[in-house]
Symmetry: C2
Subunit: 339 residues, 2 copies
Amino acid sequence: MGEAITIKDIAKALGMSYSTVSRALKGSYQISEATRQKVKEYADAHRYRPNLVAQSLKSKKSRSIGVLLCSIPNSFFAEVINGIESIAYNQDYHVILTQSLESYERELKNLEHLAWRSVDGLLVSLSTETIDISHFKKWHDAGVPIVFFDRITDLIDTHKVVVDNAGGAFDAVHYLAGMGRRKIAHITSSPNISITKERLEGYNKAMASHQLSPAPGYIQYCQHGGMIPEELEQAIDKLFGMEEPPDAIFTASDRITISTLAALYKRGIQMPEQVMVAGFSNFSSPEIFCPPLTTVRQPAFEMGKTATELLIQLIESKRPVTSFEKRVLPAELIIRPAR
Amino acid sequence: MGEAITIKDIAKALGMSYSTVSRALKGSYQISEATRQKVKEYADAHRYRPNLVAQSLKSKKSRSIGVLLCSIPNSFFAEVINGIESIAYNQDYHVILTQSLESYERELKNLEHLAWRSVDGLLVSLSTETIDISHFKKWHDAGVPIVFFDRITDLIDTHKVVVDNAGGAFDAVHYLAGMGRRKIAHITSSPNISITKERLEGYNKAMASHQLSPAPGYIQYCQHGGMIPEELEQAIDKLFGMEEPPDAIFTASDRITISTLAALYKRGIQMPEQVMVAGFSNFSSPEIFCPPLTTVRQPAFEMGKTATELLIQLIESKRPVTSFEKRVLPAELIIRPAR
DNA sequence: TTGAAAGCGGTACCAG
DNA sequence: CTGGTACCGCTTTCAA
């Protein structure tokens, strides 16, 4: 795009060698203040911008970050992407997005693709189907920086960014119990992924703290995280086919929350009278739902930002990093009373 | 990422010259079937992948597409991005996203940034602030392929992808009128952008066809497309401070629709009794809003796909393209009756 | 402090 | 049909 001026042009114009110009532009090194001035001036005047491709070829760094996540238009991930871009843009990295659509197969293919594109590092949120993580282990062991976010794994030692899933889940269930509900069900994602376990833990803890114990079948898993509509339909049908159907549901993710509400409507189940719903969601205005929805909101933008900062730190670290951190961001319960 | 095998490695291993290997790999040209076989086999066996950076440097093509839009986490644009990625991924282009956040200033900066990254082409949806489009004209005249989508301009002759905004607007307003509403207001975005004009046109036409003429002040513009919360608050306050407040509102975009509902709630204005709302939105399940929202849905994924296909076609065209098309995708009115 | 030159991985032209 | 080589734009050693 556009015919740009190169180092050679500058050298020719100023009657110097390429290397001198190159050095002058990078600041550093041994170079006389005079020539540096001259070069900088000329460069600015002619709007010189280094050719990134040439730099890449030389440095073997692509200044790109690969992102693996399940779905771009999911409101949670869309916000995460926003956070990622906000950092990457300023640090002159570009971001290559790939979506697994909750398929292990696709996750593998995407990883392959990103490897080929020679990204400098990876931001990864695992698919619901993923159990074996040796594909990531391979790259990680080969020295490729990886930061996991949201759906993480304990089997690879690197930076991780998550929200306080257990805490958020606890708060939501505690709220439902506080509203007098005792038969609180939980519709959640695949048991494979970390967030499912942690949110379940919060649910269990809150139930216990209210001396409640969920009936068998009160915990419904959607293997594909609600990506497949039938999953949710089935979950709802099972719950309301029970002898003692729930009087509240705690939903574990954005997509599941929205789909649960839709499915309940379709069946004419009254909310909040018959069943009260609260769950994870990052939709901007859940107060316009019917009834207004109490949600656990995740700092998605923040998560994207933090993960990207950590990744770039890893990429640009001079010495191999051996000590890793797990950032836990707070989840926020936003209570929206019925009208 | 990873230590890859190069053409030189293959050449060395097979005792041929670089050029022979290169030719063999590209298929074409004059090369004996035997050597081609040998090379291909070796390459496959050792998982050879051409170095994209080197190819870029040589070919002066980056195989990247720059995208300019207003906001990533907006549900409409998030779906568009999904469509863009779906095509780009398969054609081995990568996508660089930038957001204007409805600022002309930022749009300029982003364009600069993308130019520097030497993208092969641009997908552009203008910011609400943009009036002067000479920055795009400059690049377009320099031969950079551009495809405009959604918020387009007539001042640059190139491919464009839009939805039938006037038609969608007409349908929505016609629906409201059909429900017996006569005082139908319109909250819309900045008058600068194409979609505002077209949706207004549909509104006017539908009003006229029902022998309705909007009171002065029934058309409220949000200069920043509802990005700034106060804009909407003011619009609502103006509408309901009038002697004859509206009994229906047609909203012109996703963000405006959601914010309008939220603002009406906040003020305790009853829907649909006091005022009935219908508008553009790509939220997945507006039936869970209160009341269920009748929406004009745009084929956003399709739009992203189509725009990207057209762009890649431009980029890869051997001869300069001189005849351009404007694809108009249908908008779909989805009626959701009150419960 | 500056210049010359090699090389990153591919491509394409020119000989042979 | 195949080999040699220059070159894309930049960085970096080695000499001067």
